[in-house]
Each structure stands twice: as C-alpha cells, then as structure tokens.
Symmetry: C2
Subunit: 428 residues, 2 copies
C-alpha cells in the first residue's frame, strides 16, 4: 500500500514536508518529557493492590495448611499458592513450583540448567555447536535476551493474527535438531496482543520436532489481563501435549507482577510431573526456599482465580481508557494515510505499531528529539534487528491519559514526517 | 588420645557395652522424635521479627529516597537497603546489590556466570578441564553443592582455630591455576563457630594465586549473630584486598535470613566497583528488579547496623540457653572420657562435634534409631566424605531447651556406645 505522501505530486510533498517540519520544530520548543517505553502500570493502578499489605500483620497467622511460612522449608511453595498456580497454568497443584517474584528468573534458571547439564538423557546444550531457538517476532526483548546471553542463535518467526506462523515453525523444527526451543507469550502476546488460536496451541503441542529435547517456554504473562468486552480464551496446551505424549515439552510460567506489585509478586512454574521434580531438584542447589510470607500475603489477598479475575476488572478500568486513547489518536492522526497499521488488543500491555518500511528507527529518534521516549525500535526482534524496520511497541499503561494523548500526537507527527521524508527520498 | 573404653580391661569393657546397650534399648522404647539437624531459629525466636510486618500497610509511603518500591525499576536495590548492605559487608553502598531473599542464590548466580562466560578477560570455566575449588572443612554443605553441581572439583582444606589452614591454602593456590576459588564463612563459621583471625583475612586477601581469575566467596552469614560475652570482630577483607590490588577477588554476600524471617529476608552482594557493575549487568538478563517492598519493609524495621545489632541481642536470648545446654550436657556426659571434642562458639548457629575416628556415621545412625535426627554425618565435608569420619554438626537453635536436653542425652549415649564398640572391635 502507498502512503499519502507517496501519492502526492512533488509540490504537494514539498509543502507537506515544510509544514510537518515546522510542527516538529514547534513541539521541540515545548520541551516535553513523556514516556511510552515501559510496560508498567501507572502508580494509581498499582495502588489498587495496597489492601494486600494489611493482610500480614504482627498478629496474623503465618501458616498455610500447616506450613510455617515464617521459617525455612517447603521449597516447592506453600500449598495455597501452588493451588492458585495450578489454576493459572492449567495443571494440577503438584505440577507447579511457586517461587520468588520473577518469572523471567525462572525461565532463565531452567534454560541455563539445560544449557549446563542438558535435558535429562540428552547432551548439555553448551556442548553442542550452533544451538538455535525460535523467537516469534515482534516479541518480547527480555525473552530473546535469555538465549542470546548463552550464545544460542535466535531465529525470528513472524507473528500472525493466530500466533506464530505455524507452517514456518513446523517446517523448521521438523528438520533441524539444533533448534532446542521456542518462546511463546500465548495470550495477549507482547507486543501484538494476539491470543494464540486453539489450532496454533494444538500444533505447538503436537508438532514433530527433530530435537527430542525441544522445549516451549509458555510465558502466560497476560493470562488474566483482559480489558476488552469479552476475555479471549486460550486453549490449555497441557491437554494437547499430554495426549500427544509431549507434556515434557511445555515449560509454563506466569507471575502476579502485573496483578499485584510489579517486581514484588509471586512467580509460578508448571510442567510435567517429571520436569517439575527435575527442575525442583536443580533449583534446590541454589535456594533453600522462596519468600513464603510473600506467597502467603498473595493467597490471602487472591485466594482463587475467580478472586484474581475480580481484581483484574479493576486493573482494566485503568487500562481501558489508555488503550482507547491510543486507538482514537492513531485513527484520528494516521487513519487512511497509508502510513501505519496497529493492533487493537483486548488485553495485555501493548499496542504493536508498524510504519512504512525503514521508518521505525527514524521515528523513534525523532520522538526522542521531541521529548517522547518509546521502546527502542527493533527491540521487538532478536538482536534488535527488525528486518523491515517497521515495528514500534507502544506501552500506554504508565502515563496519564493526558500525557499519553500528548505523546501520541508526537508519535503521529513523527510518523508523518518520516513517511513524507521517505517518499521524498524515493524520488531523489 | 585414648577413649575411656580403650583404657578398660576386657571385662570392664564388656560390662560397659552391656550397660550401654541396655540404655539404648530403653531409649528406643520411648519412641522419641527430636531434631537437631537444622540450622533454623525456633518459632518463638522468629516471632521477634513480627512487628516488621506492621510497617508496610495500605496507607504506608512506599517510596525510599524517591524510589517507588511498588513498581518495576531500581535493579541494584533501594538506596536505604544498599546503605545497610554496605555497612554489613564493609563496602560503600555503591559497591552493593540488594536482591531477593537468598544469598545462596546470589552465590550460585555469580559462580554459574563465571562458569558460563568466565571472569572478564579469562576463559569460561566450563571450557577448562578440571576446575577446582577450595572448601574449608568442616564447612557448609550447601556451598559445596554449588560447585559440585557444576562438576567443579571440591578440595577440602582443614579448618583450624584461626580459619582455614592458610599454609595449605597458600601452597595450593600458588601453584595450581585450575583452583579458581574458595568458600569462606569468615565469622562464626558453619559449623566450627571459628572467626577468621586478622592474619588469616590478610593472607586470603593478599596471597599470590596462580589463577588470575581466582575468587573468594566471602559468605558473612553470621556477621551480627553474636551471643557470647563479647562479639568477635572480623577484619574487613576489602581493606586488605584493595591495598593489594585484589579487590576483584572478593565476592561478599550476606542476608537477613537469620535476622528477620528465614527464607523471606533480603540478601546482599558486595564487591569491587567493576565486579558489581559486571554482576549487575549479568543478573539483569534474568531479572527486571527484585522485591523492593520487602527491602523497604526491612529497612524501615532495621534502618542501620546499630538497629540490627540491637535486634540481634534479642535473638541471642533464645540462642544463649540452647548453646549453654549443649555445652553443659556434653561436658557432663562426655567430659574426660576421651571420646569427643567440640567447639564453644560465641555466635552463629552450630557446634562442631568430633568423636573417635570412624564413629560419626555410626553415631548418626544410632541417634536416628533412638529417634533423634542429626545433620547427616559427612555433610560438613565435600561430597559427604569426612576422611576420618569424626565430625557431626549440632544445630541446637530449633528445639526447645527441654527437647534439646533430651536429644543431647541421646547423642551422648550414642557416642559412648559407638566408642565402646570401636574399642571392642580393635581387640577382636
């Protein structure tokens, strides 16, 4: 599709460029300082979890089903928290481990463990040449960082509206035994907001893999983070995997970081019975037990998944107007210009935005010059290399709607100027 | 030294054996269930930290020097906690990182990091054949587990009354470049209770190492855990190391696990400025930020090292009678028998007990038959291999004084019977 600037004649384009540059100069002069880079809730949104802090006091019962949460022990997590983890991840409580506050940390521990010692019965990954990993893109930069850090080669696979391009995924894993795993954010994917279709989930769980030690990191980070009219429903990957005898393939994680306090929540791991036993025995080498008081405080506040969903309704009240603002501002500023497409998520924390080819880095830089910080262009691709340089992740949760609105005006202006410049450069 | 049983004539020994066996049978019939295995505080002792739980409530200020502790960010830890960590470890606050609840986890992360990628400028340890590590013994089994898990060869070095045998340590590290590090619990060492002398600290900091990437894990787990008449004073190893240009050698850790809530405290890392920067950049790959609300709660409760020391006075009140009970029971039961020696610590959590050669495993098993669980014999040595099979770790903190007293009677009886049996077997 052509942009409106490509369709202009030279005089029109020159005039549009002059006008846009004048607007940019004007914005620069205003000395804005706005931030749409970070997928973190606003302070007011975080505050809805404050009542949780009253639940553990000096006189509280600090036991959970007979487990003393105030002393060492109970490595796998307290019983109530494991029950909640099971509900979250779609496995029985015994197939979970509840740990500290970071699911990213759990993913790293498990991947590093396989890298060090291998999936049981298989060669440690550090002893193999050219281990590869599939990275749906646009995707989550911190995922890609885990494998990159170990020297594992990240292979991008394009995201579609039903999840990763499964034809491509199946083709790759069927023939290449050095592909050892894949990252997935299956619900309200970061940043596209896509929820994997049932068919995608089934294919991931049942596909033939050349590597017998192939693993899927199933990061259900936005399992309950709905704000659309109707929550999207993700199929239970364990059901498919169990039937196909592939339950060991699935390494599921989630956390309450965007449910209670970011960075101070509790994190869950769920997998097959044998994986859970093996991962627990591995993690025990470096941990006596996790913070069980934090687990206890959480389950007192959110004892069931229903309680979690009720709490998430309140989060949605903060997110809904922000995402509506993104949608209306982008539609108003860029609708019909041919300069951009963007997603309309029903949950999660991001809008995935695509400008013309070769625009994203320039748009990011221009926004910065105008005082608006965006997630660095390219961050949504492995090694920061967006092959077409189109994708920008918009994180609208932290700023106020007013700030957000101002930041989106800047983004729209930047996209227009860069699109016009690109059209002009084509002609040169 | 001979045991009293070795000095007996055959008839006396036979009579003593019969008498001891009768006593054992009697104890077995009582069906005791006592535990001296675990270095954890008693529930009553843990409860003294309960007031901390009232300090973060729904209406509390959740910021620390301008840092919002209720949201992502501030990876290195909140300012007040880093100050406290600096006081703890003897380094400036900027040379610390404050993380989750486990110092063991920090040690593992750092060792695994060097194993994966190497100390900057040096070969990753996983690419080297036969990496070795020095393990003062008797020592802490979980330390030994960290290196054992990576296939690093643990080399025991005997503990003396002033710390590890430094002549042996210096001899080994000077000539063998495959020795990459060493574990130290420098104050009230687990389990001997020894505090390293100033001279030992100085030698560790300044000794010549064949490996330029040699590291000392300086686990100051019992930094403030005094209960004797006068706190023992540990020299600041960083002062010596800095002077010798070896500051990078020292990886210091500590935690509040035995200060506030075991497993739910906050853990500290401290090292040279360059190590701290490098370790932070490494850990950031797998962690957005640690639980800063827990950090905030801790520094509100214990804002300074002086406040910590005051709080530790109260802990000492629980520990003092228990350690006194161990001393009086062992003296009463085994004093002058030649069957045992044991330590008289002024702090920490353990008494290190040595019976006759070849006795420890049998004593442990016999205690178990009589209903008393001890730390498994051998646990204080790498690979569980106590070369003379003499050492038993006594952990008196958890049981009540009454239970402890009963458990020590059992231990005394077991040591006597095994000593008598050993004397009898010598003659056969």
């Amino acid at each position: 599709m052509q942009t409106m600037y490509q369709k202009m004649d030279d005089a029109e384009l020159a005039s549009a460029l002059a006008d846009l540059k004048a607007q940019v100069a004007e914005v620069k002069a205003r000395g804005l300082k706005l931030d749409m880079a970070r997928g973190k809730p606003s302070p007011e949104q975080v505050d809805i979890s404050r009542p949780m802090l009253d639940l553990l006091s000096s006189s509280a019962d600090l036991t959970d089903e007979g487990v003393d949460c105030s002393n060492y022990g109970c490595f796998e997590g307290i019983p109530s928290a494991r029950k909640l983890a099971g509900e979250f991840l779609g496995v029985p409580a015994e197939q979970t481990i509840v740990l500290g506050s970071s699911s990213l940390n759990i993913m790293q521990d498990v991947i590093v463990h396989y890298w060090e010692k291998g999936v049981p019965g298989h060669t440690p990954w550090h002893k193999l040449e050219g281990v590869k990993w599939l990275c749906p893109a646009p995707g989550y930069d911190r995922h890609f960082g885990l494998t990159e850090d170990l020297g594992i080669q990240n292979i991008p696979v394009r995201m579609t509206e039903t999840g990763p391009d499964m034809d491509e995924v199946e083709r790759l894993v069927a023939t290449d035994p050095s592909i050892k795993g894949m990252f997935c954010v299956p619900k309200y994917s970061n940043p596209t907001g896509v929820t994997y279709s049932d068919e995608t989930v089934r294919r991931l769980a049942t596909m033939e893999c050349a590597a017998p030690d192939f693993r899927i990191v199933w990061d259900d980070a936005y399992a309950v983070h709905d704000f659309g009219e109707k929550p999207e429903k993700l199929a239970n990957i364990f059901d498919f995997a169990r039937e196909a005898g592939n339950e060991d393939r699935i390494l599921a994680v989630a956390s309450t970081s965007k449910i209670t306090f970011p960075g101070a929540g509790i994190a869950f791991f769920g997998s097959s019975p044998s994986n859970v036993a093996e991962v627990a025995s591995t993690l025990k080498v470096g941990l006596i037990s996790a913070n069980k008081l934090n687990q206890l405080m959480h389950v007192r506040f959110l004892p069931t998944l229903d309680a979690v969903r009720e709490h998430m309704e309140r989060h949605a009240e903060f997110l809904r107007p922000r995402f509506a603002c993104v949608q209306s501002k982008l539609e108003e500023g860029l609708g019909g210009t041919g300069c951009a497409t963007w997603t309309h998520p029903n949950g999660g924390y991001f809008v995935s935005f695509d400008g013309p080819e070769g625009s994203a880095k320039r748009v990011g830089a221009l926004c910065k010059e105008m005082g608006v910080t965006m997630t660095p262009a390219g961050a949504t691709w492995p090694y920061g290399e967006d092959p077409r340089d189109t994708n920008i992740r918009i994180a609208p949760s932290y700023p106020s709607v007013e700030e957000l609105s101002a930041a989106l005006d800047v983004l729209v202006l930047a996209v227009k100027l860069v699109s016009a410049e690109l059209a002009s450069e084509e002609r040169a």
